[in-house]
C-alpha cells in the first residue's frame, strides 16, 4: 500500500481473488497457532509448509540466531529434536509419577505453548504467486519441570513469513521468529540485566541446540528494532530471494558467506 499497486491491471475477478488470498493467508497463520498449541509440529510441517521439491529445498525457519534451511533440517530441529526434548521430559515425569504412562500419546504432558498471532500485515505479489506478511505474537511457553514447579515464560515475537501458492493452496515457505522478550512469568522484566549472561536465554539455547544450517545473529533484541530485521514487506511484483525472509534476504548474509 505504501507503493501504488498496479490495481488497474487487474480484472474484478482477479481483485476479489486477491482479497480472498489475503484472508486465506491470515487463516493459514491462525491455523499454525492452533497446531503449535496442540503440539502438532509434524502435522504443521506436513499440512502448512511447502511440499514440492523446488520449495522444500529452500524453505527456512529462522530465529534471532540463524536459520534452518531445507525441510529436512527444519524437520530435524522442529519435529525430531522437539520430540526428543518432550520425550526426555516425559521420562522424568514418569519417573516422578508412575501414574503417568510413558507412551507417545503423553508427549507434551504438562506443557502448553500458546503463540496467538495478531496485527496481520500481508502483501500479495502483483504476479499473485507469492505473498509476504508480518504478525505479532504475545505468547507463553509453559513446561513441566522435573522435580519442581512448571516453568512459564512470556515470549513476545515478531513473525515474518514468505508464502507461495502450491497447487492453488498457500503454503509457508520462509518463516522468521524474531524474539524480543523472554521472561519467566511473575518475575518482573525490570530486574533483568540488559546484557544477559551467555546461555541464559532459553529461546536461544533451544534454537542453537539443534545446530542451525546458517548460524548468524539475525536480530539483536538488546538494541530493540534498530537492526530493522525482519522489516515489513513492501508492495512488490515478483519474488526475489534478496528481499525474502530466507537467509539470502538478511542484510548481513553476504558477510556471513564471506566468513
Amino acid at each position: 500500500m505504501t507503493k501504488k499497486l498496479s490495481k488497474s491491471y487487474f480484472t474484478e475477478d482477479e481483485r476479489i481473488l486477491r482479497v480472498w488470498d489475503i484472508e486465506d493467508i491470515k487463516d493459514l497463520m491462525a491455523r499454525r497457532g492452533f497446531y503449535i498449541a496442540s503440539e502438532m509440529h509434524r502435522e504443521e510441517l506436513n499440512d502448512l509448509w511447502v511440499t514440492s521439491p523446488e520449495y522444500r529445498k529452500t524453505a527456512s525457519l529462522g530465529s534471532n540466531l540463524g536459520y534452518y534451511v531445507g525441510m529436512d533440517d527444519i524437520a530435524n530441529y522442529y519435529v525430531v529434536k522437539h520430540t526428543e526434548d518432550r520425550q526426555k521430559l516425559l521420562d522424568a515425569c514418569c519417573a516422578a509419577n508412575p501414574a503417568v504412562k510413558n507412551h507417545r500419546d503423553n508427549l507434551g504432558y504438562g506443557c502448553m505453548t500458546f503463540h496467538p498471532v495478531s496485527t496481520a500485515l500481508v502483501v500479495l505479489s502483483d504476479d499473485g504467486h507469492t505473498a509476504r506478511g508480518n504478525w505479532y505474537v504475545i505468547g507463553q511457553d509453559s513446561t513441566w519441570q522435573p522435580g519442581g514447579p512448571a516453568s512459564c515464560r512470556w515470549s513476545n515475537d515478531k513473525l515474518a513469513v514468505d508464502f507461495v501458492k502450491e497447487n492453488g493452496k498457500w503454503k509457508i515457505w520462509h518463516l522468521v521468529i524474531a524474539n524480543d522478550i523472554q521472561v519467566e512469568a511473575s518475575k518482573t522484566l525490570n530486574d533483568k540485566p540488559t546484557i544477559a549472561p551467555p546461555g541464559s536465554d532459553p529461546a536461544e539455547v533451544e534454537f542453537n541446540a539443534g545446530d542451525p544450517t546458517v548460524r548468524m545473529l539475525t536480530h539483536n533484541k538488546v538494541l530493540n528494532w534498530s537492526d530493522n530485521y525482519p522489516t515489513e514487506p513492501e508492495a512488490y511484483f515478483h519474488f526475489d530471494d534478496k528481499d525474502s525472509y530466507g537467509p539470502e534476504g538478511h542484510p548481513k548474509y553476504e558477510k556471513y558467506q564471506e566468513k
Binding site: K7, R15, V19, I181, L189, N190, L223, S226
Partner: protein, 247 residues
C-alpha cells in the same frame, strides 16, 4: 451483506476493509521502531483534515500531526542514544538511532471495520493488549510495561489509494510487565496519592488544537469510557461517523 451496492462497489469496499487493517498494522510496526517519519510521510493523507489524538488532546492537520510525532519523538530518542552511547558499544554502529528509545509493541486485535457505502472512507476500531519494552537504559536493566488501549481510526480513499486520516488512542491500563496489579495500583494512588501529585501537563508546549483530557485511564472510581465507539455501517463520512468531528 450490502446488496444495494454493485458488485464493483463491493469489491472496492472489500479492498478498503483490508486496507484499513493493513494501514493500522503498518502504523503499529513503524511506530514500534519509531520510524515516525516514514509513517507520516508514506501512509497518511497530508490533508488539513488529518488528526491524531491521545488522552492529552488532539493535533489537527497533517503538519501539526507531523510536528507532534516526528519532531518530538526524534528528540526523545536522540537523548536515549546519547545516554547509551558509552554504555553499549554496539550502539555507536547503528545506522538509525530512533529505535533505541523503546519497542512499543501495540498488538492489534478485535478489529471492527466498516467501509462507507460511497467507498471514499473506512472506519476501524481495535483493542490492543500491548507491551512496551526496552533493554537500553543507563541502569543497564530492561524496562517493560503492559499497555491496554483502544483505538478508533478513520481512513480515506485519496487519488486511488487508501490513506490514514484520523487516529485516536485511548490508553486504559498500564503497569510493569507481568508484575502489575493495575487495579490495586490505581486504588493505592487514590487513597494515598503521591506527594505533590503528577506534574501538570504543558499543553502549550504540545501545541495541541484540541486540549484534553479526551480519555481517562482506568481507575476504580469511574465508569467505562466508550470514547471511540466501534463504527456502525454508514453511507459517507460525516460528523456522526468519524473519530474527529469537524469544528
Amino acid at each position: 451483506m450490502k446488496k444495494h451496492l454493485t458488485l464493483s462497489q463491493r469489491i472496492h469496499n472489500a479492498e478498503g476493509a483490508q486496507a484499513a487493517e493493513f494501514l493500522h498494522a503498518k502504523h503499529a510496526y513503524l511506530h514500534a521502531k519509531a520510524h515516525e517519519k516514514e509513517e507520516y510521510s508514506e501512509i497518511w493523507t497530508r490533508s488539513e483534515d488529518a488528526s491524531w489524538a491521545h488522552s492529552f488532546g488532539r493535533w489537527r492537520g497533517w503538519k501539526n500531526v507531523w510536528w507532534g510525532h516526528v519532531a518530538n519523538y526524534n528528540l526523545i530518542y536522540l537523548d536515549v542514544y546519547r545516554q547509551m552511547y558509552d554504555l553499549v558499544p554496539e550502539v555507536a554502529f547503528l545506522t538509525d538511532f530512533r529505535s533505541l528509545g523503546e519497542l512499543a509493541m501495540h498488538s492489534l486485535s478485535t478489529d471492527i471495520i466498516e467501509v462507507a457505502d460511497d467507498g471514499q472512507s473506512a472506519r476501524a476500531s481495535f483493542l490492543t493488549p500491548g507491551v512496551i519494552s526496552s533493554a537500553l537504559h543507563p541502569e543497564m536493566k530492561w524496562k517493560g510495561f503492559v499497555l491496554w488501549e483502544r483505538y478508533g481510526a478513520d481512513f480515506v480513499f485519496e487519488d486511488g489509494e487508501w490513506k490514514y486520516l484520523h487516529e485516536q488512542v485511548c490508553p486504559d491500563l498500564m503497569g510493569p510487565f507481568d508484575a502489575a496489579n493495575s487495579g490495586m495500583d490505581s486504588y493505592n494512588r487514590l487513597v494515598n496519592p503521591p506527594a505533590g501529585g503528577p506534574p501538570p501537563m504543558d499543553t502549550n508546549a504540545k501545541r495541541l488544537q484540541d486540549i484534553g483530557p479526551l480519555h481517562n485511564s482506568y481507575t476504580t472510581v469511574q465508569t467505562v469510557q466508550n470514547t471511540v465507539p466501534w463504527p456502525e455501517p454508514y453511507v459517507t463520512m460525516d460528523n456522526n461517523n468519524t473519530y474527529t468531528q469537524k469544528l
